[in-house]
Amino acid sequence: MIKFLQNLGKNTRTGFTKLGRGTFFLLQTISGIPSVLPRIRLLLNQMYSIGVLSFLIITISGLFVGMVLGFQGYHVLSDFGAEETLGIMVAASLVRELGPVVTALLFAGRAGSALTAEIGLMKATEQLSGMEMMAVDPIKRIISPRFLAGFLSMPLLAALFSAVGIIGGQLIGCALLGVDEGVYWSQMQANLDFRDDIVNGVIKSIVFGFVTSWIALFEGYDTIPTSEGVSRATTRTVVNSAFSILGLDFILTAIMFGDN
């Protein structure tokens, strides 16, 4: 019993110290961002490996998710004779929920895990300490450009995901199942609001980009410098990102769409 209480206390303490280190790390990273701007090449390199290399998985997943929504939506809506509203269903579910959330989950799996492994290995092979010895701040040189690149790439990827998904839904709904193309688009335009739907979706993706990059970089930076430590940190990145994305999505949805 005493042991259980001891364990509980210890876990709480380590959890809180980790949270504290994480917040401190985030503040350092953000204060390092201004020094990235003069060296834009660092940012571009990271935009390439985080954004451009995620491009393909995001667009292909978006297309398939849109096509599945087209099939499933048509199936349910045709029971009520409301196939014309397929456009609203596909676009609203993509722009409000699936776009930001699925993109963030894929992003955590594709880019987040890579970031953690890269930085964890840098720490394990003492490249980060080496940099400090050469009076180069590893936060400014390594972490901040990656953070900024993740933070900037995420909304762009989510917008692409939604746009491609809507086209995928049209492909299935209009070309295959025979919903009228004009109705698909006009119903969508009449019922989706720019501020309520699109801007809120973009806000969601910005928040997710922020949180996923933070978790990935911090887990890498905070890793135990062994090969096992790096592998654990990579797993934790994906698990913690998924939890925070879904949890935050619930909170954001409750704030944005809860009142009507």
Binding site: L160, Q189, F194
Partner: protein, 156 residues
């Protein structure tokens, strides 16, 4: 690592396609292009019953959308529904004896406000009131009346 200039091109393409995606969502998917609230004026109408009318329901005249409903409230003194509508500035020549009615698009579609122009020389102004209104037709009420009437006819 690829040659830096190809890498730059790819990053540029990525950012451009992301922005194109956002523009696509803003202009093609949402109602941003069709209606803006800046160039509009507000009129109010009182209905005995506004039915299933909602904020953002469309306001149309002769079948063309000219504005949208911005607020619906209940007046506890007259027991009426007060509907505020904002109408596009370019349609500022509606006569002040215009009739407002709540119609349904199709049998089960959304409800909207239809404005039938009257014959007056005076135009509706910002903050103006529409005096002549027709309430929404409640399907259950109409069906009930119809059944009652046909039952009465059978008795004769």
């Amino acid at each position: 690592m690829q040659h830096t200039s190809t890498q730059d091109t790819l990053v540029g393409l990525f950012v451009a396609s992301g922005i194109v995606g956002l523009f696509f969502l803003a202009l093609q998917v949402s109602n941003l292009s069709s209606f803006s609230e800046h160039d509009s004026y507000t009129v109010t109408a009182r209905f005995e019953n506004s039915g299933g009318l909602k904020v953002k329901s469309s306001v149309s005249s002769a079948g063309v959308k000219i504005g949208q409903v911005t607020a619906i409230s209940f007046d506890p003194k007259t027991y009426e529904s007060v509907v505020k509508m904002s109408i596009d500035k370019q349609y500022s020549t509606l006569p002040d004896d215009t009739t407002a009615s709540v119609y349904t698009a199709g049998l089960l579609g959304e409800q909207y406000v239809n404005l039938d122009a009257g014959g007056s020389d005076e135009y509706l102004k910002d903050g103006g009131k529409i005096d002549v209104t027709n309430s929404a037709i409640i399907l259950e009420k109409a069906l009930g009346q119809f059944l009652f009437k046909s039952a009465a006819e059978e008795k004769k």
